[in-house]
């Protein structure tokens, strides 16, 4: 009996520690983004409005991981630096590429901060999409907010 309980506890632990990537691997990118946004709202009190595709997006492991990690990083930046009360997230497929936009209503990133990209992990994000020939565009308007557009083409392997 104790052996059985120990086994169960170990299984649960293993599952719990794997939960993060598991959400991504098993549920796909769309559900993982929805889940993370819900978690973010609970942790920060910043509302997230989501506009996600209703169909399951079939995306390879590398691209989903890149998109999800960038999304996590973007939300972390909003929580840390933006002083925003709301985020609008949109994900869609547009001319052979996954396009993810994250827009907040905070103070707006300054031009100098975009150029000093290492401070906000922007460099790291750009490096993540480089292998796919992707790009990240960032635009800030003072006291209006920041908009980030991440584009990951499907074509290149």
């Amino acid at each position: 009996m104790f052996g059985l309980i120990d086994g169960t506890i170990q299984s649960v632990r293993k599952i719990a520690s794997r939960l993060r990537p598991e959400v991504l691997d098993q549920l796909g990118l769309t559900a993982a983004i929805g889940w993370h946004a819900g978690d973010f709202r609970k942790r920060t009190g910043i509302r997230c409005k989501l506009s996600l595709p209703s169909d399951t997006l079939i995306l390879d492991h590398e691209r989903s991981t890149a998109a999800f990690r960038i999304f996590q990083e973007l939300l972390t930046n909003v929580a840390r630096h933006a002083n925003a009360t709301r985020i609008d997230v949109a994900m869609r497929v547009d001319s052979g590429a996954l396009v993810l936009t994250v827009e907040d209503n905070g103070r707006g990133i300054a031009e100098s901060e975009i150029e000093d990209s290492k401070s906000l992990g922007l460099l790291g994000m750009r490096e993540r999409v480089l292998p796919f020939g992707g790009a990240i565009e960032i635009a800030g308007a003072r006291d209006k907010g920041t908009k980030v557009r991440v584009c990951i083409p499907f074509g290149l392997k």
Binding site: L4, G7, T8, S11, I15, E22, V23, D25, Q26, L27, G28, A31, W35, R41, K42, T44, G45, I46, R47, T56, N83, T85, R86, N105
Partner: protein
């Protein structure tokens, strides 16, 4: 009824078999410990209902359900999962699955669910049915906090997290009196009287 089970944890497979053993008309004819094994058994064995774990090594989840349904469109697939069903029950049904059970309630619901799907029905747990009904409800039944503005929502969240007015003012670059005004407006909109009630509301609505 010939049942196929697939789960990567031996202890779960054992539990499932134990539950099914008490049903005289249900036989476990095969057990798989990952998605690829499950597909092989699906092909080799004669079975009536497949009971799958949603998350297994190798092929699993939506992909596995779709593959099984492609080969045997007429046979029901029931999905078990550790994750709460809000997370992906909809995906399971979209992929062609006939039912979804959270592992937590599998003990009570498994045999009923198998019978339901074996007869061509869909199995939806009471809690997921409630969520579906809530999603369909008209706007009038939206929770009160939906009527808060974005900034009111954030102030509400900070208050519910136990932050003092002065602290919130500093964090949002506003004056303490503005925050007090926000607080009064939030309490009115949520039909609450004090911060304790606010905390209780936030916890109940899972806002914090």
């Amino acid at each position: 009824m010939r049942i196929l089970i697939a789960d990567d944890h031996a202890v779960v497979r054992r539990g499932l078999k134990e539950i099914l053993a008490s049903e005289h008309d249900m036989d476990v004819v095969g057990e798989a410990k990952n998605g690829d094994e499950a597909l092989e058994l699906v092909r080799k064995l004669d079975w009536d209902v497949a009971v799958l774990d949603f998350s297994m090594p190798g092929r699993s989840g939506v992909e596995l359900i779709k593959e099984i349904k492609r080969r045997h469109p007429g046979r029901p697939v029931l999905v078990l999962s550790m994750l709460p069903e809000e997370a992906h029950a909809a995906q399971v049904f979209k992929a062609g699955g006939s039912g979804y059970i959270n592992k937590e309630s599998a003990g009570e619901e498994l045999t009923a669910a198998i019978r339901k799907v074996a007869n061509g029905g869909k199995y939806v747990s009471a809690s997921f049915a409630e969520k579906l009904a809530t999603d369909l409800a008209p706007d009038a039944e939206k929770p009160l906090h939906e009527s808060l503005s974005d900034r009111e929502y954030r102030v509400m969240w900070l208050l519910a997290s136990g932050k003092q007015i002065n602290h919130i003012a500093a964090e949002l670059f506003l004056s303490p009196s503005t925050i007090s005004t926000y607080r009064a407006r939030i309490l009115k909109k949520l039909k609450l009287t004090d911060n304790a009630a606010l905390v209780r509301y936030a916890v109940k609505q899972q806002l914090i």
